[in-house]
Amino acid sequence: MTAVLDIDDLNIRFSTPEGTVNAVNGLSLSVSAGESVGIVGESGSGKSQVFLSTMGLLAKNGRAKGSTRFHGEELLGLKADRLNAIRGVRMAMIFQDPMTSLNPYLRISRQMTEVLMEHKGLSRAEARSRSIRMLERVGIPEAAKRVDMYPHEFSGGMRQRVMIAMALLCEPDLIIADEPTTALDVTIQAQILDLLSELRGDTNSAVVLITHDLGVVAGLCDRVVVMYAGRVVETGLVRDIFYSPRHPYTVGLLESIPRLEGDGEGGAEHPRLKAIDGQPPNLQSEIAGCAFAPRCPRVEERCQQERPDLIGLDNGHACACHKVGPT
């Protein structure tokens, strides 16, 4: 399979008045054509920054080092005009808050047709009808009429659909969705998840889905990347990660979720959840050994000094832990 996105040894540092924040540390991952990859991990583990840097959207105080290639072309340090030809056209991003990518002062029609006219060379009329079709595709009723509305005239769920329509407009090879349903009510989230999996069926776009909701990953993703403190600690096929997690953090994460299906123990007594003690590390200082060591139930002496490498197990399953090796 060919890689659409290939990230190699990525480091992202932010300089702040309090010192340097090591947000992403030596991270490598790749995304193949048509595949859907879920990115999970604690808040602050670097999930968003990895892909904001892919899109060239890091904050001013942030620096990315390493390599991020899109269809083989290096994105880090790419000139603005070249990046603009890729961004929003061949790769697009969907955010938690749709207003991040919609302009509040412009009608939806204008925002959609301009992209198509500029990058796909369509006439205004062609662009308009393609935009309407795309809005219909994502389930906006009366799209021909609503295409001329402003973003604030849509409800939250509808606005999310409009943003998805915008992202899909140029049929990108890669869609990066950062918590696309986190702000939505669950019945609306269900509609959007349904839409996303339907779209996955009939476009060939690769999807990166960043989320803290393991249920969303379980439903939509082929593969999962688990991050902790700016590194990949485990990655594998979705069933391997959920049914045979190997890294102590992944194991703890899956055990700490309350289950809607019940805890299987019955009775009026409520079992305790298996929480992970402690809290994620401060990224302001370099971490010598394994970043999970202070919270890890299996920690041993060398975890404090030696950083575990990401070691391949089987089936594309890989894990960064001294206590886990190929079986």
């Binding site: 604690e42 808040s43 769920g157 009510d185 509609q191 803290h212 298996k274």
Partner: protein, 325 residues
């Protein structure tokens, strides 16, 4: 059964909202809480679930009169909180505490956490001297899993989970009988969320605390709740024991809500039949006539537009507001 600790009867909290501009702009009633009733026993947890705008937070705040209800009764150990004088209300406030979703925002940034946790004691136990105060605070910090030597630190030096522990310590220090928890874990990571849920359950067990646990997360509510109330546009759709509600939901909205939750289990999640609700939540300013759920209900008929179904017991302590159950 012994008399309930708290008994809420036909509670209404309506706001008057200006829907057009200007001095004489049109105002409309927003029925944030629209006739909600429930009983709560000591040591019991009522889980309150629903989507945005369903009135969960207004309900919680109305019980403490942080927002003034516009009708109904709130009986606390038999006395009606809606009609007590300020002095009595203040004493009751000691028994009923509240914690909020955004831990950091609810803590005064200029106070040390010791001062924050001690504050309610200064109101309710004025006779304590400085040493006694400090001892009480340190003991409570220890109880909620904060290192007592952090007593002089400021809130911004703490993580989200720790700030929530500070909020819980502040609520617990006056030994309340009931804590209203308004989305207390929604802002936290799953691994930290589990710590806080365990803490609340431990405190409940050790002190016989009653909890009203408000959340949009059904899995969390199933885990912590004894009884569950499902709200939609200010009204209770269904109230039942936890297992009955999740295993045999009767109201069409409860059924859809539960089926909408993505399960963290790839095989189950992909095999699952989802009940899709079409459309958006109606505006609470313009709720549908009759049954408020009818615009999204797959089973709605003409009758549903004409009359509001009452919340009736369908046996086994399961109450449902639907014409067709």
């Amino acid at each position: 059964m012994s008399a309930p600790l708290l008994s809420v009867k036909e509670l209404h909290t309506h706001f008057s909202v200006r829907v057009s501009k200007g001095l004489f702009g049109e105002r409309r009633p927003l029925r944030a809480v629209d006739g909600v009733s429930f009983d709560l026993a000591a040591g019991e947890t009522l889980g309150v679930v629903g989507e945005s705008g369903c009135g969960k937070s207004t309900l919680g705040r109305s019980i403490l009169r942080l927002i003034e209800p516009t009708g109904g009764e709130v009986l606390w150990q038999g006395s009606d909180l809606m009609h007590v004088d300020r002095h009595t209300m203040r004493n009751h406030r000691r028994d009923i505490q509240i914690i909020f979703q955004d831990p950091l925002a609810s803590l005064d940034p200029r106070m040390t956490i010791g001062e924050i946790i001690a504050e309610p004691l200064k109101t309710f136990e004025r006779s304590l001297n400085k040493t006694q105060l400090r001892d009480r605070v340190r003991a409570m910090m220890d109880k909620v899993g904060l290192l007592p030597q952090m007593i002089n630190r400021y809130p911004h030096e703490f993580s989200g989970g720790q700030c929530q522990r500070i909020g819980i310590a502040r609520a617990m220090i006056v030994e309340p009988r009931l804590i209203v928890c308004d989305e207390p874990v929604s802002a936290l990571d799953v691994s930290i969320q589990a710590q806080i849920i365990n803490l609340l359950m431990d405190l409940q067990r050790d002190y016989g605390l009653a909890l009203i646990f408000i959340s949009h997360d059904l899995s969390v509510v199933r885990h912590i709740g004894h009884r569950i109330m499902v709200l939609y546009l200010g009204q209770a759709m269904e109230v039942a024991e936890r297992d009955a509600l999740f295993d045999r939901p009767l109201h069409p909205y409860t059924q859809a809500l539960i089926s909408a939750v993505p399960l963290p289990d790839p095989d189950k999640e992909r095999a699952k039949q989802r009940i899709m609700l079409s459309g958006d939540l109606p505006s609470p300013l313009d709720p549908p006539s009759g049954c408020v759920f009818r615009t999204r209900c797959p089973k709605a008929t003409d009758l549903c537009a004409q009359s509001r179904p009452s919340l009736d017991d369908r046996g086994g302590n399961q109450s449902v507001a639907c014409h067709y159950v």
